[in-house]
Amino acid sequence: MREQMGITACDLFAQDDRVAIVLAEISTQYFGPALEGDPLRAVNLGIMEQSMIGVAAGFAMEGFHPIVHTMAPFIVERPLEQIKLDFGYQGLGGTFVSAGASYDYGAEGATHHSPGDVQAMLTIPGVEVLVPGSAVEVDRAIRSTYADGRITYVRTGVAMNATSFETQIGRAEVIRRGGRSTVLAVGPLLERTLAAVEGMDVTVLYVTSVAPFDAETLVRETTGPDVVVVEPFYEGTLTPAVSAALAGRPSRIGSVGVPRRFIHTYGQLEEHDREVGLDTRGIRDRIASFLDGR
């Protein structure tokens, strides 16, 4: 996904002379064609994330479509006020593509983890938050939004689904239909979720557009009271959107996500998934436990 981000951004940069790329030392290897091609519109500022956002806003003030990238904690949590004010309050559009997700680089420790990025971005009114599940979906997410005049957060990560879907902003995909309850699988957790619910009588919706959230599809496809969200960031992040969508009917909303605690150990992504219950078995056990009411 990270490589695809660079390919897509550089392609848009070559096609559209209103695209600007603003970096802070991370992933410059993926942006070579832009950085070497037209350094007036592509800039690596060095390690300064607050200014990275401010500089990108300056480009946007002059009519450019900035694409900004660094690791998730450093693009969202560190300069959140710059995104809120320089872009949000000022009514400007920009594309913010992150890498690292919740704990992709497990050995780096919690300084490089960002399970709270999506919830933090959702505090900014009007943002688009896209969590694609494959490289193809990353490409579509960036292309379809880079010039729409909105703040768009695109969360890329190491984990991916083998199959891509015709994802669109604001739309959830119906992957399978069942009678008992509804499971929402977010981004890269789809494949694991499908394996986890094998044999369960549930509908599975695939969500890559966290905001805007496709309430219509959820309401249409949900028959029973039970809805479970399988989300690759802090658990409960999607609960407000799901709760609002289902306000007209009695519901129970469960979340299978990343627990809200710091992880003080290292290792690989897969080991973190197992630890927090987001491997296939963990997802299966947690969904079953919720549906059984235990």
Partner: protein, 226 residues
């Protein structure tokens, strides 16, 4: 400033603030703002988005009564709007909003945002081939405590942003002794200090620019004065 202009701008400020007294943060910037709009900046008040204009960002967004008075004086909006300063339903807040006030380039108030945005604007102007256009950003001295400014101060010379000017109005409000000229020179800026009420001096240094290095103008407001 010419007496008739000074009287007019003070009258406009009084329209906004309701009396003849103004807070220090607003008054300390008045001379600099007047010189900028009267003698330095290229703009078209009837067409605030004119592409050929110079860009001015008031980073130190607080105390904007003088800014609004100068904008009204130069015709960006009718002076009667000043009466709605800070009121419900008005467009002139205690910090300026670019979506509400014609001529305001940036919505500021939270300190340390204007200079990084100005670096981006200067880069964007260069990318568009608008190399004659200036980008001038006004900060306070205490605002320069914010680390985000020093990121921008560090990177602007390496980007060779000769069209960028930092106008630091130094009314000695910083708790930390800033010694701005030495620091800015060390970071690679052209640094000029001028007495903050000296219109001819302000005009002279604000009209200077280097081909490669960004320029910092430290407008010194003598201690005890506004």
């Amino acid at each position: 400033m010419p007496a008739e202009h000074a009287d007019e701008i003070h009258r406009l400020m009084a329209l906004a603030t309701g009396d003849e007294k103004h807070d220090e943060s607003s008054t300390s910037t008045l001379d600099a703002l007047h010189v900028l709009y009267d003698r330095v900046l290229r703009f078209d008040a009837a067409n605030p988005g004119w592409e050929e204009r110079d860009r001015f960002i008031l980073s130190k967004g607080h105390g904007p009564a003088s800014y609004y008075a100068v904008l009204a004086h130069h015709g960006f909006f009718p002076p009667d709007r000043l009466a709605g300063f800070m009121t419900w339903g008005g467009t002139l807040g205690s910090h300026p909003d670019r979506q509400q006030v014609p001529g305001v380039e940036a919505s500021t108030g939270s300190l340390g945002h204007g200079l990084p945005m100005a670096v981006g604007v200067a880069l964007a102007l260069r990318a568009k081939g608008l190399t004659d256009q200036r980008t001038i950003v006004l900060t306070g001295d205490a605002e320069l405590n914010e680390g985000s400014n020093w990121e921008a101060i560090l990177v602007a010379p390496t980007l060779e942003l000769g069209g960028l000017t930092l106008l630091a109005v130094d009314n000695h409000s910083s708790t930390i002794d800033m010694n701005l000229p030495a620091k800015l020179e060390a970071f690679g800026w052209v640094a000029r200090t001028v007495e903050g009420h000296d219109h001819a001096g302000l005009e002279a240094v604000l009209c200077e620019r280097d081909d490669h290095r960004p320029t910092a103008v430290i407008a010194d407001i003598p201690e005890g004065e506004w």
